[in-house]
């Protein structure tokens, strides 16, 4: 209990502060690195929530592949600073956004903590092998086989789309 609380607080602080660092940093390269730190904190939280397989996949897919792609594009376009224009077309947005964000936060919190979601049962003993690779695979190929196949179609379309976009027109 105490150990979990301490771990949660540390990881929570890391996650929230790195998330703010992502949206506030001037240099996109730093933003990418902070987002990687954020993903690591989330992967650790997944481990605490006994979802170890998802935690490894999180590191493998997000930190190992997706963020490297971001870094690649940031470096390729050399977007380090000085592209954010000074004239904002919607200057009010910058000041309205935090207020709207707070409203959204309260809204999500109310939804999570009341009504339907409040019925979340108290923590109890987990079945053997919860969160390991085998049961995830069983679910993926039995109950969720249709969404699984649809995702493969999504990936194919994304692949074709990005090749078409990246191709130089003669």
């Amino acid at each position: 209990m105490i150990a979990e609380l301490v771990i949660f607080i540390i990881l929570g602080i890391v996650a929230v502060s790195s998330a703010f660092a992502v949206i506030l940093s001037k240099n996109p390269v730093y933003a990418v690195l902070f987002l990687v730190i954020n993903f690591f904190a989330l992967a650790m939280l997944y481990l605490v929530l006994s979802a170890q397989f998802v935690a490894f996949i999180q590191i493998l897919v997000y930190a190992g592949a997706i963020m490297v792609l971001f870094l690649f594009v940031v470096m390729l376009l050399n977007l380090t600073g000085a592209i954010e224009s000074l004239q904002d077309k919607l200057p009010a947005q910058r000041w309205l956004a935090p207020a709207l964000g707070m409203v959204l936060l309260v809204e999500i919190a109310v939804v999570f903590l009341s009504g339907f979601f409040a019925q979340v049962p108290e923590a109890s003993e987990l079945p053997e092998g919860f969160g390991t690779s085998a049961p995830v695979g069983m679910l993926l190929f039995s109950r969720y086989v249709l969404p699984f196949e649809v995702t493969s179609a999504v990936l194919l379309i994304a692949m074709v789309g990005s090749i078409v976009l990246a191709k130089r027109r003669p």
Binding site: V29, Y30, L33, V36, Q52, F53, F56, I57, I59, L60, A63, G64, A65, V68, L69, L71, F72, M75, L76, L77, N78, G129, T132, S133
Partner: protein
């Protein structure tokens, strides 16, 4: 003393010993590489410092540390110093899942010689092996790319940046065949735990290099590319890029790049031993001999890496990409499909059938790929690919 404390103590000792052994591999590899390369080039190699030049790596390290640690004026002050560590740490951590020996029993406690391995204590105290350990090691090896890319970017040097870009593209491309090539052995072992993979090979009575020969070749190739070794060492191609991503580094930070390269090589070799050469098992099951078997098999692979470096010329960049995407990945996928089909329909004779199919597949692949690469690189050369993609000026970079 509660059992959990004893458990943590045993794991701590094991971790320290394995890390220490792993780190001693680095100076040994430097010596081995210089000696073997010298032999290939009909030279003598290091022979003045210590017997057979064995102390040469220490002299090298001392020389490197004594040098001035230079930071370029325009370098990124935060990222530039930590980039070498970002490359080295994942390389070190990946050993945590590799089993270097079987079950050891001391009194009423027994555990495998694997940092994240199984542990049984008295009164039913039981910690299982890390589930999906291979995913962890693949995830960590995929993190190494940050070190290279950030080193290239933060140096504020054109050649470093180009080296970093090349390596990120190369490592992303070769991660796919590397992962897919390992799925075949995993299917045969029907587990994601590395210790189970080793046990499965002794249950089958055959090393997976025989039925999964195609997977082995692809793993070796993409492993070489993943650790940026010759003939895939384009990120640091001296003739084109001065030194690539570590052009600006000197002193101990440069030494860390070196160490990371060797550590990565050792990790890839250890994975290859575990997946394709039966891991720590050989002839007998005497438990104290098993780490020695493991070390011997590891040496075999390390020698192979040096041998490849000493004999093969560096490939061109478009050839590298063609090899990765047009040969390795399709071949790995075909191998995976064949393995799955064979295991589903003839599980009794899986090893025999897979051996035959892998021989057929590798023959087709050899002729097909040499044709495919020659044709595609010729075509790209004709269509001006090389002309547009060679680093000539600022504009062509985008």
């Amino acid at each position: 003393m509660p059992e959990i404390v004893i458990f943590l103590l045993i794991k701590l000792v094991m971790t320290i010993v394995i890390f220490a052994l792993w780190m001693t591999m680095v100076p040994f590899m430097i010596w081995l590489e210089r000696k073997v390369i010298a032999d290939i080039q009909i030279r003598i190699g290091p022979n003045r410092v210590g017997p057979f030049g064995l102390l040469q790596p220490i002299a090298d390290a001392l020389k490197l540390i004594m040098k001035e640690d230079i930071t370029p004026a325009k370098a990124d002050k935060l990222i530039y110093p930590i980039a070498p560590a970002l490359l080295m740490v994942p390389a070190l951590l990946a050993i945590a899942v590799i089993p270097i020996g079987g079950m050891v029993t001391i009194g009423e406690r027994s555990f495998t010689l694997q940092i994240m391995g199984e542990y049984r204590g008295p009164n039913g105290f039981f910690v299982p092996e890390l589930d999906a350990g291979i995913l962890l090691s693949l995830a960590l090896s995929s993190l190494g790319v940050y070190g290279v890319v950030l080193a290239g970017w933060s140096s504020a040097n054109k050649y470093s940046l180009l080296g970093g870009m090349r390596s990120s593209a190369q490592m992303l491309s070769y991660e796919l065949p590397l992962g897919v090539a390992l799925v075949g052995p995993l299917l045969l072992a029907s587990s994601l735990r590395l210790n189970e993979v080793v046990n499965a090979q002794s249950n089958f009575g055959i090393w997976f290099i025989i039925p999964q020969f195609v997977g082995f070749i692809i793993f070796l190739m993409s492993g070489t590319a993943e650790v940026n070794r010759a003939p895939f060492d384009l990120p640091e191609a001296e003739q084109e890029l001065i030194g690539g991503y570590h052009t600006e580094y000197s002193s101990f930070r440069f030494a860390m790049f070196f160490m990371a390269e060797y550590l990565n090589m050792v990790t890839i070799s250890a994975l290859a031993v575990t997946f394709f050469l039966g891991g720590y098992r050989l002839f007998t099951d005497i438990v104290w001999l098993q780490p020695i078997w493991f070390a011997l098999k590891l040496m075999l692979f390390l020698y192979l890496f040096v041998w490849i470096r000493g004999t093969w010329p560096r490939v061109r960049y478009d050839q590298l990409m063609a090899l990765g995407w047009k040969v390795s990945l399709p071949l790995a996928l075909v191998n995976l499909a064949i393995t799955a089909i064979v295991l589903a329909y003839v599980p009794k004779r899986a090893v025999l059938v897979l051996t035959i199919t892998s021989i057929v597949l590798i023959t087709i692949a050899y002729y097909g790929s040499s044709y495919n690469i020659r044709r595609s690189t010729d075509m790209t050369a004709r269509s001006g690919y090389a002309r547009r993609h060679l680093p000539e000026s600022e504009e062509t970079r985008i």
